[in-house]
């Protein structure tokens, strides 16, 4: 659901006039509450991760990150994201194209169904693949007979990740492309452009920031997913442990410094994600003001 609210213009400054201003003490109080809440709930946990990670010094930190198992976990996490994100990207574009550019019955229902994975508990997202591919599940026997491993192997982890990150790109693009309408594309078609040409030269430049935004969020969730992956992983060290699972394992081995060292990489990923996101938001706003100016000029 994060995605549905994402692309609206962010913090727009307003000018205050005397008639629409609160007393100074109210202002100070509100800012105080917000900053306290912000510090206690958001900053502290973030700092805690890094403080715990470096508690035993750089040596321990680097050793924890360069251990065989940690490297394997990092590789698996990257691999999972590298498969899940492009799959959902292609889907997101296809879904947005069909929903935003055409009218058809059942459209609302389709949008609702696309949103579904957001409101399903991650635990259930894992459970469904156990029910399907577990040795006792629907397809379990068939896959076992053909010696294809899905559950407790990389394919299961990828599937669960694809499921939980399913709506990110689509939910970003649908409102954006709906708002933009299809006059530009229709004009291009009239001028004789092919479908792909229209997409590459007309649609894509308009949606590139929204697309990037969706991809960034999708990637963050893909790399950080815990609940769903935990159910389907099997927790084999060096083989089916993703970074979040490796954090849990180290945490359970009294290996606090190492657990937080790996966690700090994930926290870093979160910070980079937020940084990119802020950047993209700025670009979007710029693009919006530019197109607005263009419309006004014409």
């Amino acid at each position: 659901m994060s995605a549905t609210i994402a692309l609206q213009p962010g913090a727009l400054e307003r000018h205050e006039t005397p008639t629409t201003r609160e007393p100074a003490w109210v202002k100070v109080l509100l800012i105080g509450i917000a900053l306290t809440f912000f510090t206690v709930f958001l900053l502290f946990p973030l700092f805690a991760v890094f403080i715990e990670a470096f508690r035993k010094g750089w040596g321990t930190y680097l050793a924890a990150l360069s251990s065989q198992d940690a490297l394997a976990a990092i590789r698996l996490t990257l691999l999972t994201a590298a498969i899940a994100v492009p799959l959902n990207l292609v889907f997101g574009v296809a879904a947005a194209w069909s929903i935003a550019k055409f009218e058809f019955p059942g459209k609302r229902l389709l949008i609702t169904l696309i949103d579904l994975p957001f409101s399903v508990s991650p635990v259930i997202s894992g459970l469904i693949y156990v029910l399907l591919f577990g040795a006792q599940g629907w397809f379990g026997e068939w896959f076992a007979a053909h010696d294809i491993k899905i559950l407790f192997a990389v394919p299961g982890i990828v599937l669960a990740t694809v499921f939980v990150t399913f709506p990110f790109v689509a939910r970003e693009l649908i409102p954006l492309m709906e708002a933009q309408g299809s006059e530009e594309e229709e004009a291009a078609v009239v001028l004789g452009a092919s479908g792909w040409q229209v997409f590459w030269h007309t649609t894509l430049p308009n949606i590139k920031w929204g697309l990037l935004y969706g991809v960034i969020l999708c990637n963050a969730r893909a790399m950080g997913e815990f609940g769903a992956v935990s159910v389907v992983s099997g927790h084999i060290r060096g083989m089916t442990n993703t970074m979040p699972l490796h954090v849990e394992i180290l945490y359970n081995e009294y290996n606090y410094a190492a657990a937080f060292a790996v966690a700090s990489l994930l926290a870093l990923l979160a910070i980079v994600t937020l940084g990119l996101k802020t950047l993209v938001e700025r670009q979007t706003r710029k693009q919006q003001t530019e197109s607005l100016a263009l419309e006004n000029a014409s």
């Binding site: 156990v130 591919f133 577990g134 040795a135 006792q136 599940g137 379990g140 076992a144 010696d147 491993k149 559950l151 407790f152 099997g234 927790h235 084999i236 060290r237 060096g238 083989m239 394992i249 945490y251 359970n252 081995e253 009294y254 606090y256």
Partner: protein
């Protein structure tokens, strides 16, 4: 690009295969929570032994978690060559699904348990609450940490040890035991899903006055953070036998039976028994046991077979849905 990678990969594989006659074998050992350190050492020892004996390189992959969860994984298709779990019931569950024969526990000596353990108390330095035995746990101001018997093997041993203690008291009977264990669980503050989670809560988070733990897990905590804790061995406890087995379905499919069997057999060797003792598991080998006698306090140990009629029965009576453990928690409702 892809093709090139494939070709070079194939080439590399052929070269490797040509060069080394030694086979590279991998095994997956699916185990319960507190055995991480034990198997880390043992796997290295076994790899060395196997290399010397056959020339083959064997790598052992490990998966750890709550015993019930691990058994669930194997049933669902986690391809374990060997299962080394916390209690026989979890392996029985695997047998019930036909992955191993029903008589699996007779295939290896000592009920298929190469090492045993028992349940002890880990208390804070100086034992401020003066906890000496099970009956000290029901005092109202004592807060207890134990994992959840529904999901943790170790926790089931904890629970049954407390039950056995109540039964053995003068005038003890089932009703009194139920009340006693119920009182203990009223004092439980955090119920983690696995033994390791509980230890973390008690040791690292500083929660609770006493941790009910595997003896080996308690000693490990002492070793890691020695000056903060003490171990109290109660007057009566339970002989915990964590059993091991080859998972027939997997080894037959992967062709790893020989090495998997050797992996388990070697656990009974003096070298392995010494490793187990070093990690505070009580060895079956009498000589090694004598050598490490100092660290294993003698106390009265009851067995699951004699006091509870075996694991299947204990599971059914106490831990199944609606069983005694559920009754202990449910009628009292919210506290």
């Amino acid at each position: 690009m892809k093709l090139k990678a494939l070709v070079s990969g194939l080439l590399a594989a052929t070269v490797l295969a040509g060069n080394a006659l030694a086979a590279d074998i991998s095994l997956l050992n699916v185990s319960y929570d507190p055995t991480r350190e034990l198997y880390q050492d043992y796997n290295a020892a076994f790899a060395k032994y196997w290399k010397a004996k056959t020339g083959d390189n064997v790598t052992i992959n490990q998966s750890h978690g709550g015993s019930g969860k691990q058994a669930r994984g194997i049933i669902d298709g986690l391809e374990a060559d060997v299962a080394t779990l916390a209690l026989a019931y979890d392996i029985d569950a695997i047998a019930d699904k036909g992955l191993i024969p029903q008589d699996w526990q007779k295939r290896l000596p000592n009920n298929a348990s190469p090492y045993t353990s028992t349940i002890v108390f880990l208390v804070r330095k100086g034992n401020p609450k003066g906890i000496k035995d099970w009956n000290d746990l029901v005092k109202p101001d004592v807060s207890i940490i134990t994992p959840n018997p529904k999901t943790s093997g170790g926790a089931r041993w904890n629970y049954l040890a407390a039950w056995a203690y109540a039964l053995e008291q003068p005038g003890g009977n089932e009703a009194k035991a139920k009340e006693f264990v119920g009182q203990i669980f009223k004092n439980v503050k955090v119920l983690d899903s696995g033994a390791r989670g509980s230890t973390t809560t008690f040791v690292e988070r500083g929660i609770g006055d006493v941790l009910l733990a595997w003896e080996n897990e308690a000693y490990l905590s002492l070793k890691e953070l020695g000056d903060k804790f003490e171990i109290v061995t109660p007057s009566l406890s339970i002989l915990a036998e964590p059993p091991i087995t080859v998972v027939d379905k997997t080894v037959d499919k992967r062709g790893t039976r020989k090495v998997a069997q050797a992996y388990l057999d070697y656990l009974y060797s003096p070298e392995a028994q010494e490793i187990a003792a070093r990690h505070f598991y009580r060895p079956q080998d009498a000589k090694i046991g004598a050598k490490y006698a100092k660290q294993f306090v003698k106390t009265k140990l009851v067995t699951i077979d004699k006091s509870f009629g075996g694991w299947r029965n204990a599971q059914k009576v106490h831990f199944s849905d609606g069983g005694v453990f559920d009754q202990i928690y449910v009628p009292s409702g919210k506290r």
